[in-house]
């Protein structure tokens, strides 16, 4: 594993281009585009204000930079650095901005979710979508980029509109039986749309592409409901993580629950492997100490190495009960992710913030638990193989694969608290992001 040096970053805005050749990062109001293999700066753009959001177009030719405070979106071209485009929402304000799948339209959500404006880079036409819903995931594109589902709310009722992305024609418009729609997500096969309700109601609705209600699923009443969902890459399974610390898996044939995964604080099953991160203090060879101490030596002296030990079952994990009188409590299944080969599901129970649970989907059983020393910040699967990268807010990156797991210390000087990570589309490298810097980690093919 090779690590690059640290580069400046702001706002956790570090993105690989979809074709995998470039890496875009933001430093305050500058957009820096680097080459992935050499990390040399290819382009440098300056925006009008502090950038809050960047996104690559699907063909990797353009990058949009959104500045919410000023209500401006600036688009830059990689082919022609002189080309510029500025979209000003003016007094309408800007809350969110994203690309359309064809890479030629920009969808801006104005303040108070008054409307969604579809700006076209090809023509002078502008489209408006009225009454968009102010929720977390109100816009969803299908994987093949043909259709877009928008959640709307009129007269205190939720609706879904399905648009054809090629000409922005409204295909279907139907109402949903939700109290207060919280999110929508397409299945990877683009034929089923999952719509789920607010956490006050456990309800998930499945609609077909043409607007028919396929099925409704309710696990229980009154307690806090769905926290997160994830589709399996083959669209076979829908994993629903809820506030009662369980993940329920629905199958695509009958849309009925196949199994429930529980996340108890004590793991008793002997077939589960529990990897526990332990610190090992580095051994200092007194003969090698030199004065004045070299930088590498200094950093290695103070950085604590860690490795994984296999704990003997039964293992009891650190369980945190959140305060009962706050909204959006830190409990339940907050993170869900399927591996790209559909074999594993990684989950995180917010009540047990230091552990990542990896489930074997073929056997529908708990396979591995990774117990870390610090709280899990984020994890992401390698897009090509069943390899999971985890970061916990320290300067180590953890990799798990069915062959084993490894903890790697990022060899950088000073503080580097990895808060987020993102894989390159080829699975050969990974960007590790912290609050004010980032570095790129290159993995060799045979590793882990």
């Amino acid at each position: 594993m090779n690590f690059s040096e640290l580069f400046k970053l702001s706002g956790l805005l570090g993105r690989f281009s979809p074709d995998g050749r470039c890496l875009a990062s933001c430093v305050q109001y500058r957009l820096v585009v680097r080459d992935v293999s050499t990390l040399q700066i290819l382009q440098l753009y300056t925006c009008l204000d502090q950038i809050q959001y960047i996104e690559w177009s699907s063909d990797s030719l353009f990058v949009l930079c959104a500045m919410y405070k000023r209500g401006i979106v600036q688009v830059w071209s990689l082919e022609q650095p002189d080309w510029h485009c500025k979209i000003d929402e003016g007094s309408a304000g800007l809350v969110a901005s994203c690309w359309s799948p064809d890479g030629r339209h920009i969808l801006n959500t104005t303040e108070f979710h008054l409307r969604i404006t579809v700006w076209s880079l090809c023509t002078k036409s502008v489209s408006y979508i009225k009454y968009p819903k102010a929720c977390q995931q109100g816009i969803a594109f299908t994987k093949d980029g043909r259709y877009m589902a928008v959640a709307e709310r009129r007269d205190c009722k939720d609706f879904i509109s399905i648009f054809v992305c090629s000409d922005w024609q409204l295909l279907r418009h139907f109402d949903t039986e939700t109290q207060d729609l919280f999110g929508i997500e397409w299945a990877p096969n683009s034929c089923v749309l999952a719509v789920w309700d607010t956490c006050l109601e456990y309800k998930i609705l499945l609609y077909s592409l043409d607007g028919r209600l396929l099925s409704t699923y309710r696990a229980y009443e009154w307690s806090l409901g769905i926290k997160s969902i994830a589709w399996s890459p083959s669209s076979q399974f829908l994993a629903i993580g809820s506030y009662d610390e369980k993940v329920r898996i629905l199958n695509h044939v009958t849309w009925k629950k196949v199994t429930e995964f529980e996340h108890p604080a004590t793991i008793a099953n002997t077939k589960t492997i529990v990897y526990k991160e332990v610190e090992k203090s580095p051994s200092v060879e007194t003969e090698r100490l030199s004065f004045p101490p070299t930088r590498a030596l200094a950093s290695s002296l103070f950085s604590t190495q860690s490795k994984y030990d296999i704990s003997q079952v039964p293992v009891s994990l650190q369980y945190i009960k959140p305060v009962a009188d706050r909204a959006n409590p830190k409990m339940g299944i907050g993170m869900l992710a399927f591996s790209p080969d559909n074999c594993f599901l990684a989950t995180k129970n917010d009540n047990i913030p230091n552990a990542v649970w990896i489930w074997d989907i073929q056997k529908l059983k708990l396979f591995v638990v990774l117990e870390q020393l610090c709280a899990i910040q984020s994890f992401q699967w390698d897009p090509r193989q069943p390899r999971l990268a985890v970061c916990t807010g320290n300067s180590k990156v953890y990799l798990w694969s069915p062959a084993g797991c490894v903890s790697v210390q990022v060899p950088v000087e000073g503080d580097f608290q990895i808060v987020s990570l993102s894989w390159h589309s080829s699975g050969d490298s990974m960007a590790l992001l912290s609050k004010d810097s980032f570095c790129v980690c290159y993995l060799e093919r045979e590793e882990v």
Partner: protein, 559 residues
């Protein structure tokens, strides 16, 4: 004899203890007898005498005798008078009467004893019964009290149960109430939310109007030049045609997805059907041949024939892979039947096995199991022994093969060294002895050689002298003939002289050679040579070389 007073009767009654009803006896009681008979206690001799003296005194002998006679006759005894009147007593009849009276007395005593015994027994029985009665009364009391206690407890538990039920009901009611409260609150919140949302929407509309009215010139897009579409085509108008096309495309997408799923399900179905068929065949093969035992399976008879028909049909039909309802049902039903039969069969086998366990009727099986167990024990023992042997062998091997600690190796080496040293010492001794022998021999040889040389010298001198004489004699005889032979002799003598000289010089050589360099090292025993034995080794080759060289010199001499 005086008057015997009838007052003796109350005296006797004071002595007696018990009053019995006289009932038994053979020579008994004339009807006018008193029912009460006084029990006479066995009197002491004193009282006896006093009693006797009281009854009959010297004055009233006649009266007492007539009284006795009267009493006896009334009792049925013969008279004691010799004749019917007169005063002569029939002694024999008196004695007989006395005897009879004694016998009667004995009988009466025995009867009394028996009666007393019975009396005692009855008394003890009564005591026992009274005790039992008392105990039973106590027990009855106790059990009554217990019953009362249990009843009380039962009552308490029932009341507790009722309380708990009540509590449970209360809790349930409370839960229901809370749920109702929650639902009512939820509807209230929803209603409020909706109201607020409507207000919010109104504000948004107003805001939207204001924003649009302002016609903010700022809301615009500045772009250097428009970019071409990603797919290279030009933009098209939105028409009904396009709408229809979009719908078509959407349905195509859905249909293709459904078709894909259906294909997957068909493939799965086909696989599962194959598996079921296989299972069915295997189950049929597992079941025992049913044609041999028609009696036991008479119930399955008709089912069998149906099944066989079914099997035949299904086999035919499945070749065409029909998947209509009836065929599917047939397949599943037939499998279920087969499975049930297999289950019954297995259960029967299990019962048989358990019966054998419990009854042990079939001796063969029992014995065979016992044998089997014995054998297994034997085998286990053997295995244990073999394992132990292997372990010991391994240990030994390890000891031999592995390099031990330095101490042991040193020790071992020292052992070897000691052995070798001893051997070497012996060999040195031998060599020394041999050396001595050789020295001796050499000395003897040299002496012998010297002697020989001297003798030769002398012999040569003699020979020379004799030849001289001969020559002189011959020369006197043959002065004119100067023989060639003498030169040979002369030469021979000179040769002999030379030889002598040579031998003399050769004699000296071994001496020189003896002190020569000690370079040759025989390698016979060099394997275990250590520092200690190096000096010995140096001596050896000298010893070895000596006889060789001496032999050489011998050879030279004999040439």
């Amino acid at each position: 004899m005086g008057d015997w007073n009838t007052v003796t009767v109350p005296v006797l009654s004071s002595d007696s203890k018990n009053i019995f009803q006289y009932t038994s006896g053979k020579k008994l009681s004339p009807p006018n007898m008193n029912s009460q008979v006084l029990r006479l206690p066995l009197p002491s001799s004193k009282s006896m005498h006093s009693f006797f003296s009281a009854f009959c005194t010297e004055e009233n002998i006649e009266q007492s005798i007539s009284y006795l006679n009267r009493e006896l006759t009334t009792l049925g005894f013969p008279s004691i008078y010799a004749e019917s009147k007169g005063k002569e007593l029939n002694l024999i009849s008196i004695i007989n009467c006395m005897n009879e009276l004694l016998v009667l007395q004995h009988k009466n005593l025995r009867a009394q004893e028996e009666v007393e015994m019975q009396h005692l027994k009855l008394g003890s029985d009564m005591d026992h019964l009274q005790n039992c009665y008392a105990k039973l009364k106590e027990q009855l009391e106790l059990s009554k009290r217990e019953i009362v206690g249990l009843q009380e407890r039962d009552r308490q538990l029932q009341s507790k149960n009722r309380n708990l039920h009540q509590l449970l009901k209360n809790e349930k009611d409370e839960v229901q109430k809370l749920q109702n409260i929650i639902s009512s609150r939820a509807t209230q919140y929803n209603h409020d939310m909706k109201r607020k949302e409507r207000e919010y929407n109104k504000l948004k509309e107003r805001l939207h109007q204001l924003v649009m009215n302002k016609k903010d010139k700022k809301i615009a897009m500045e772009v250097l030049n428009y970019v071409g579409r990603a797919d290279g085509k030009r933009g098209a108008w939105r028409t009904d045609k396009t709408e229809a096309r979009n719908e078509e495309e959407m349905y195509k997408v859905l249909l293709s997805d459904y078709e894909q799923r259906q294909n997957q399900l068909l493939v799965e179905n086909a696989e599962l059907k194959k598996v079921l068929q296989q299972m069915k065949k295997e189950i049929i093969s597992l079941l025992p041949p049913q044609k041999q035992k028609p009696k036991e399976r008479s119930e399955d008879g008709p089912v069998l024939s149906d099944l066989e028909e079914d099997i035949g049909e299904l086999n035919k039909e499945n070749m065409w892979e029909l998947s209509c309802e009836t065929v599917r049902e047939q397949l599943t039903n037939s499998i279920r039947k087969q499975w049930r039969m297999l289950k019954n069969h297995v259960e029967k086998l299990d019962n048989q096995v358990s019966r054998v366990h419990s009854e042990a009727l079939n001796e063969k099986d029992v014995i065979s199991r016992e044998d089997h167990e014995l054998e297994t024990e034997k085998l286990e023992l053997e295995i244990q022994q073999c394992k132990e042997m292997i372990k010991t062998q391994q240990q030994l091997l390890q000891q031999l093969m592995s390099p031990c600690d330095d101490d042991t190796t040193l020790l071992l080496q020292d052992c070897y060294l000691l052995e070798e040293r001893e051997r070497l010492q012996e060999e040195w001794r031998l060599f020394r002895e041999q050396k001595k022998n050789f020295e001796k021999e050499r000395r003897s040889f040299t002496e012998a050689a010297i002697r020989l040389g001297l003798e030769r010298k002398a012999f040569e001198e003699d020979r020379g002298a004799w030849l001289k004489q001969q020559f002189l004699s011959m020369s006197t005889d043959y002065k004119h003939s100067e023989n060639v032979t003498t030169p040979s002799a002369f030469l021979g003598s000179s040769d002999q002289d030379n030889r002598l000289v040579k031998s003399a010089s050769q004699q000296r050589k071994p001496h020189c050679k003896l002190s020569g360099p000690v370079s040759a090292e025989p390698r016979q025993t060099s394997q275990y040579i250590t520092r200690n034995s190096s000096s010995a080794a140096s001596k050896k080759p000298a010893g070895d070389s000596k006889p060789n060289q001496w032999v050489e010199s011998d050879k030279e001499e004999t040439e």
